[in-house]
């Protein structure tokens, strides 16, 4: 049952991406991107990743879409017709995809409780966390405590982006542009 639901949603996502690929109206692209993010979030709920789903809905569908719309407003542009045939790009992305396909064949499949990820490291988070940290949401415990340093890095990434946008978009005090 789960497989059918998730598979159907994933198929819808592929269709959305196909739409993004085909359309040259950038506004439509951005809206399709928002739909894509919401579908992603829904699949994540089906995969029991509720925290991730919430973040994807807020960040992927919300913030990203707003940012894209803002940039689109500032650029006001329609995508030009591609000038060259995309065979090179096609070949490259096909190679990468095939490499990944090659690699995943030996991996544990969907819903395999014997897979290494369910046997090593994660069991401690699920079984001992109650004594060690004692917050019901295991994701919060791992995020903020066990792997809290990653989250510090992640917060710093967000800060870097913020300060970077300030550096790039803060208006010059002088009117004249000192661009070459």
């Amino acid at each position: 049952m789960d497989e059918i639901l998730i598979g159907g949603l994933l198929a819808l996502m592929v269709v959305t991406v196909w739409g993004i690929l085909r359309t040259r109206n950038l506004f439509a692209v951005v809206v399709l991107g928002g739909i894509y993010s919401f579908l992603t979030a829904t699949v994540m709920v089906a995969l029991d990743a509720v925290d991730v789903a919430m973040t994807e809905a807020a960040v992927g569908a919300g913030v990203s879409t707003v940012l894209l719309l803002g940039a689109l407003y500032l650029c006001r542009s329609e995508e030009a017709r591609p000038m060259h045939k995309p065979w090179g790009a096609m070949a490259l992305s096909a190679t990468v995809t095939l490499a990944l396909f090659h690699g995943t064949v030996g991996l544990p499949g969907f819903n395999d409780p014997q897979a290494p990820i369910h046997q090593h490291v994660a069991p401690r988070y699920l079984n001992e966390m109650k004594q060690e940290v004692d917050v019901p949401n295991v994701v919060t415990a791992v995020l903020a405590s066990y792997r809290g340093y990653d989250t510090l890095g992640e917060t710093t990434v967000v800060f870097t982006a913020g300060a970077g946008v300030v550096a790039l978009l803060r208006r010059r005090k002088r009117k004249g542009k000192d661009k070459a």
Binding site: V50, D51, A53, M54, T55, A58, V59, G62, V63, V66, L67, G70, A71, Y73, L74, Q131, E132, V133, D134, V135, P136, N137, V139, T140, A141, L143, A144, S145, G148, Y149, T151, L152, T155, T156, V158, F159, A161, G162, A163, V165, V166, L169, R170, R171
Partner: protein
């Protein structure tokens, strides 16, 4: 849109609830899905909503840009500071066990609490700052004398 009465009234009612929801997501993150990132984004969304209805100028008055810029920095400082506090209290970096003298579990709770506050502060600050930056750029681009004067005042 600035003069639409219905929108303004509804916004006035909604925004406190949005902020309340953000606080819920922030502190309920220990028990259900949620946490600093999501709460930060919701806080930013509430202010963006305010800016859309009442205008950028009003939003700037409510939450000046310099505050927003400080928020970006303060969150990271708080987070990294919790780590340094771990060292000062005799543990390793980001060691929450030592944050409470009596119980390691309480120390963990305390650490997670402050860390999440730091995350929410930075995320909301950054999201807002990025929004302000893009919005300001638009004023300049439009080359509308009234708008550019308005943005000059900001």
């Amino acid at each position: 849109m600035k003069h639409d009465l219905i929108l303004r009234v509804i916004a006035k009612i909604l925004i406190p609830f949005l902020l309340l929801f953000a606080v819920y997501v922030q502190f309920h993150g220990d028990f259900g899905p949620g946490g600093g990132f999501q709460a930060g984004v919701i806080i930013a969304a509430a202010v963006v909503f305010y800016a859309l209805i009442f205008g950028l100028k009003a939003a700037h008055r409510m939450l000046p840009e310099s505050w927003v810029e400080s928020m970006m920095a303060l969150g990271v400082i708080l987070y990294a500071g919790v780590g340094v506090a771990g060292i000062v209290l005799g543990g390793n970096y980001l060691d929450y066990f030592v944050l409470d003298a009596h119980s390691t579990v309480h120390g963990q709770h305390r650490g997670i609490f402050w860390v999440e506050v730091g995350v929410a502060t930075t995320v909301s600050g950054v999201m807002l700052k990025i929004f302000y930056m893009f919005a300001d750029r638009g004023h300049l681009d439009r080359q509308d004398p009234a708008a550019s004067q308005e943005s000059a005042e900001l």
